[in-house]
């Protein structure tokens, strides 16, 4: 196809892009184990000193706990509503079906700050105080589509005749769901749930407008960087968040072989 020089250039380009994608991640991981509290490069030496400091910091702990609670609750809401929406859109033909898919994608297609400020205006208008619940509402709104995308992609690939066969053989709708449908969508569901958790755990823009005075882990990081304080601890916490988002997506890709765009 391409000439020899073209082929070499293409390979070099791929290598350069891979370097561009991963060098920053590698550097930030190295910084987490920096011995010194000075941020300059190259780092002074390796140590787990700041990992221990960060782990025992009560502010970091409470932020981590809030992030985990918000992530788990938002994922739970997303699993229920995202699966229901996928079944509804897949199984039933009705007027406005395309509008439903568009509506679900909207929180991700519009910039996050729109969702954030819209929810903030609504909470202010309704006199609702910002709390864990408002964070969960914000996160679930954009996590639903992740579960929805995964489940509907699977439903489209599974033959409808399986369900019909089950019903013909006398299974109730609940039995059919439990023994036929659920096993076929289970990996897609788990994959969607993991991605939803990763998305929620790392989210910062919508959270800023729905969290009030509390800090999730990304909000704590953002605040600390702006103040320029506790940077050695930030190095560690940033890598913790990085790992906690990479693990779910890795498992998810293993399960389904794909993980679409957020």
């Amino acid at each position: 196809m391409t000439g020899r020089i073209g082929a070499v250039a293409l390979r070099l380009w791929v290598a350069a892009v891979l370097f561009f994608l991963f060098a920053p991640i590698a550097i930030v991981i190295l910084y987490a184990f920096n011995k010194s509290n000075v941020q300059s490069w190259p780092i002074a030496g390796l140590s787990t000193r700041w990992v221990r400091v960060a782990w025992h910091d009560p502010q970091v702990r409470s932020a981590l706990w809030l992030s985990i609670k918000a992530g788990v609750l938002a994922t739970a809401v997303a699993i229920i509503l995202g699966t229901a929406a996928a079944f509804g859109v897949h199984r039933f033909k009705f007027f406005g079906r395309n509008a439903v898919s568009l509506l679900l994608v909207l929180p991700l297609a519009l910039p996050g700050i729109i969702t954030g400020i819209a929810l903030n205006s609504a909470f202010t208008f309704a006199g609702i105080n910002l709390s864990l619940e408002t964070i969960v509402i914000g996160h679930a709104t954009f996590c639903i589509v992740v579960v929805y995308n995964n489940v509907i992609a699977r439903l489209r690939r599974v033959s409808g005749s399986l369900v019909e066969a089950s019903m013909d053989l006398g299974a109730s709708p609940i039995q059919t769901f439990r023994f036929v449908t659920l096993p076929t969508i289970s990996t897609a569901l788990v994959s969607g749930a993991l991605l939803a958790f990763a998305l929620s755990f790392d989210e910062i823009i919508v959270t800023t407008f729905t969290a009030g005075a509390q800090n999730t882990l990304p909000l704590w990081i953002f605040g600390a960087i702006r103040l320029g304080q506790q940077l050695p601890e930030v190095n560690v916490v940033v890598v913790a968040v990085l790992i906690l988002t990479i693990i779910p997506v890795t498992i998810s890709v293993r399960l389904t072989g794909r993980a679409g765009i957020k």
Binding site: G6, L18, W41, F92, D202, L242
Partner: protein
């Protein structure tokens, strides 16, 4: 199974619309009651104002907030934001195309899968962590300064500027461009490229006349993400940008937080909405929706 349950089951099975309604109502209700209603409240808020003395919302309808958008200060902010979003989108398209081409048409299936994973990992990996990595790299005495010194160049000093912002935005949103472009290129039948070559098309001409037009829907699909994500971001400008890095997102953020002017923030938020509606309409026309 009890008699009632089987009756309910039978009724549900016979009436498809009933099951459809039951499964769709909860998610739709969530989106209508929480999301769409919030968007409506935000749009209404944009027509209100804030009492300068008490900081309370004044429910009096006026267009002052929108008029203020058309003052030089905000025109500059909007222009800067759209310009940056366009620049980042073009950069990512140029960087992504050869990479996606290699993935889709040159690499062996095993390498292709590895590269795909290598793109998905940063796509899902923590946003704040990836932005922070660049603070560490770009700061004085950071990795970039050190590398430049090693190869005998002076320190580049691009930290806290719009140049730095351009690099970092392009970095964070790059995977969002690669995935749909790869999807578009993967679907090109090999016979098309062979036909072009058989008819005497040199590689450059085939790339220009066959590959690029077929990659376009993928590029447009990717650009929806790179454009929209840049348009609304304020975290990266605050952390990476400098004195001239006020974007729409920053103005909204400042008006919700420090200035406490929610109505004006809401009016500002309509700007990205309008831009994205226009953008999505064009994208739909270019056939980008099949690529997402």
């Amino acid at each position: 199974m009890s008699d009632t349950t089987s009756k309910v089951n039978a009724a549900l099975w016979r009436r498809g619309w009933l099951r459809g309604t039951l499964t769709l109502t909860p998610p739709l209700a969530w989106f209508l009651v929480i999301y769409l209603a919030s968007l409506v409240v935000m749009l209404i808020t944009a027509f209100w104002s804030v009492d300068p003395f008490t900081n309370n919302l004044v429910h009096s309808w006026n267009l002052d907030n929108f008029r203020q958008l058309f003052t030089p200060t905000y025109e500059r902010i909007i222009g800067r934001t759209v310009g940056m979003a366009a620049l980042v989108t073009v950069t990512d398209a140029i960087v992504a195309l050869p990479f996606a081409y290699y993935m889709a048409r040159v690499a062996t299936p095993r390498v292709r899968n590895l590269l795909f994973a290598a793109v998905l990992l940063p796509l899902w990996a923590s946003y704040i962590a990836r932005v922070y990595a660049w603070i560490v790299i770009l700061q004085d005495g950071g990795t970039l300064d050190w590398s430049f010194a090693k190869i005998g160049l002076g320190a580049p000093h691009i930290g806290y500027s719009n140049t730095a912002l351009w690099v970092v935005f392009s970095y964070i949103w790059l995977p969002y461009m690669i995935v749909p472009v790869f999807g578009a290129l993967e679907r090109i039948p090999a016979s098309l490229l062979e036909a072009s070559a058989d008819l005497g098309g040199r590689p450059a001409r085939t790339t220009w006349k066959v590959v690029l037009p077929l990659a376009l829907p993928g590029i447009v699909a990717g650009s929806i993400f790179t454009f929209a994500l840049t348009l609304g971001d304020y975290i990266t400008p605050i952390l990476i940008g400098g004195a001239r890095s006020t974007f729409i997102g920053n103005a909204i953020y400042a008006n919700v937080g420090v200035a406490g002017n929610l109505p004006f923030a809401a009016a500002l938020a309509t700007v990205p909405i309008v831009i994205m509606i226009v953008y999505l309409t064009i994208a739909r026309f270019l056939g980008a929706f099949e690529e997402i």
